[in-house]
Amino acid sequence: MASVFSGAPPQGGPGYSFSQTRIATSSGIREHSFYPYTDNGGSTLGVSGADFTILAGDTRSTSGYNINTRYAPKLFKIGGEGPDGTGARIVLSVVGFAADGDALKERLDTIVKMYKYQHGKPMSVAACAQRLSHILYNKRFFPYYVHAILGGLDEEGRGALYSYDPVGSYEREQCRAAGAAASLIMPFLDNQVNFKNQYIPGSGVGHALEQRVPEPLPRKDVEELVKDAFTSAVERHIEVGDGLQMMIITKEGIQETFSELKKD
C-alpha cells in the first residue's frame, strides 16, 4: 500500500510521464531561435586625396524589402563638441547592422573625446584608427556587424582613410567601398582612383604594356566620382537610394553635403 503513495510509481507498470523523477536531465543544448543581427542595407565609400578625404553614404535604411526611413545617416563626426560635432576632425562611416553601428559610433566618439580631455590635444587619425580596430577585435566573439571606414587627415596633412572588417582587421587605403553595393562600387573605384586596368597607350604589347601610375586625384574629380558611383549603385541595388550624404575633411574642418538620390 505504501508504494501507492510513494512518489515513484511501481516498476513494471505502464510508463507515465512522471515515471522518472529525474527531471534534471536535459537533452543537450538547445539552440536560441533569437538572432541578434539584421542587415539595414545601404552603402558607403571613402576616397583619400592629397590634402582631403571624402566619405559618403546613402541615407536609406531597410529591413528586408521595407524602407524604414529615407533619412538615416551612416556618417558620423567623431570627437566633436555638442550635437553638431563642432570641431571634429575625424569621420566614421558604418554600414551593416545599424544598431551596432550606432553603438560603435558612440563608443569611439566617447573615447576620442576622453583622449582630448585627458591629454589636452586631439587624437591623431592613426591612433583613432588603431583604437577602432581594438574595439572591434575585443568583440570578435560577438562582433559589431558593420563595415567601418574611418577618414581624416594624417600628421602631414594628407588624406587618411582606413577600412575595417567586422572583427577589426584594418588597412590604410586610397579608396574603399562598403555595404550592400560594395561589389558594384569597388571595381569602379579601383579603375577610377587607382587606375587599375588602365594602361599607357602605345607603351608596349602584352606584358610590356605599362600600367598607368596612380596619383592623388583633385577634390572636384573625387566628388564627381562619388556621385557617379552612387547614382549607378542606386540603379542596380534595391537597398541603396533616397539620399547621398557626403563629408569632406580638409584642414579647414569637415564640410557636410546632402544631395538627393532616386527614391524608387
Binding site: Q20, S26, F34, A99
Partner: protein
C-alpha cells in the same frame, strides 16, 4: 482511473509518449525569450505641423486567438511623450513599469526640464540594445511620439534588436507594409510635415487603422489614438472604426465559398 493516484489527470506515456524532460530545464542552459506570446499588432504614427498623431488597436492576440480586446497599447509618459508598443504584451508591461519608475526618479527634482520624446527614445533604444546584446530581448517594436526641444514634432522607432530610425511617418508590424505607403503618399518627406494640419493627420491615421483592420487578421476595430502637441496629449483609448465598407469583399475570389 486506475490505482495510481500519481497518474490521475496526467497524460499516459503509452498514449502520448514520454514527457520530454528537457522542457523543464532545471539544469540546462538559461533560457530567454525565444518568441513573443501575447502580442499586439501594428502601431502607426505621423508627424504634422504642431505635433504627432499615433494610434494602435486595443487587441492582444494569443497566436491566432483574439485573447484580450481592451488592451491599451499607447502609453503616456508625461505631458509631451506617448509611447506606442507593438509585439509582446508582457514585455510592454515591463517597459511601462520601467518608464514609470524613470518618471518618478525624474520628478524627484522639480527644477530640471522634463525628459522630452527624443530623450526617452534614446533611453529606450539603450534598454532594447542592451537586452538584445544579452540575448534576452524585449520582444517589441516601439514608436516614440512627442516633442523635442523647442516643441518640434518628434517621431522615432526602436525594435527588439535596438535598431533605431526616425521618419515623418512610421508604422510597425503589418503597418509597415499596409499603412506606410498610405502615410507616405500624404507625407513623403520632412518638408511636407509643415503643411499637414492636425485634422489631416488624424484622418490619415484613422484611414490607416481601417485599412489595417480590413487586411490584418490580428487586428481589431477598437483602437486608441493620441495627438501630442505643445498643449498636451489628447489620448482616446476607446475609439471605434467609422464608415467601414466591406463592399470590396464581394470582389475577392479564389478561396472560401467563392472558389473562382
Amino acid at each position: 482511473m486506475n490505482h495510481l493516484p500519481q497518474a490521475w489527470g496526467r497524460p499516459r506515456d503509452d498514449v502520448y509518449g514520454a514527457y520530454d524532460a528537457s522542457h523543464l530545464q532545471t539544469s540546462g542552459p538559461q533560457q530567454h525569450t525565444q518568441s513573443p506570446i501575447v502580442t499586439g499588432t501594428s502601431v502607426v504614427a505621423v508627424k504634422f505641423k504642431d505635433g504627432v498623431v499615433i494610434a494602435a488597436d486595443n487587441l492582444a492576440s494569443y497566436g491566432s486567438l483574439a485573447r484580450f480586446t481592451d488592451v491599451k497599447r499607447l502609453r503616456k509618459f508625461n505631458s509631451q511623450v506617448v509611447v506606442g508598443f507593438g509585439g509582446d504584451v508582457s514585455d510592454m508591461q515591463y517597459l511601462d513599469r520601467l518608464l514609470s519608475s524613470l518618471d518618478i526618479r525624474e520628478n524627484y527634482s522639480t527644477t530640471e526640464t522634463p525628459l522630452n520624446a527624443k530623450n526617452l527614445h534614446t533611453y529606450l533604444s539603450k534598454v532594447m540594445y542592451k537586452r538584445r546584446s544579452d540575448f534576452n530581448p524585449l520582444w517589441n517594436h516601439i514608436l516614440v511620439a512627442g516633442l523635442e526641444h523647442e516643441n518640434k514634432p518628434f517621431l522615432a522607432s526602436v525594435d527588439l534588436l535596438g535598431t533605431t530610425f526616425s521618419s515623418p511617418t512610421l508604422a510597425t508590424g503589418f503597418g509597415a507594409h499596409l499603412a506606410q505607403p498610405i502615410l507616405r503618399r500624404v507625407v513623403p518627406d520632412e518638408a511636407t510635415v509643415e503643411s499637414v494640419s492636425r485634422e489631416q493627420a488624424v484622418a490619415l491615421v484613422k484611414e490607416c487603422m481601417k485599412v489595417l483592420f480590413y487586411r490584418d487578421a490580428r487586428s481589431l476595430d477598437k483602437y486608441s489614438i493620441a495627438v501630442v502637441t505643445k498643449d498636451g496629449i489628447d489620448l482616446k483609448e476607446d475609439e471605434k472604426l467609422e464608415s467601414q465598407s466591406w463592399a470590396f469583399a464581394e470582389g475577392i475570389r479564389g478561396y472560401g465559398t467563392q472558389v473562382n
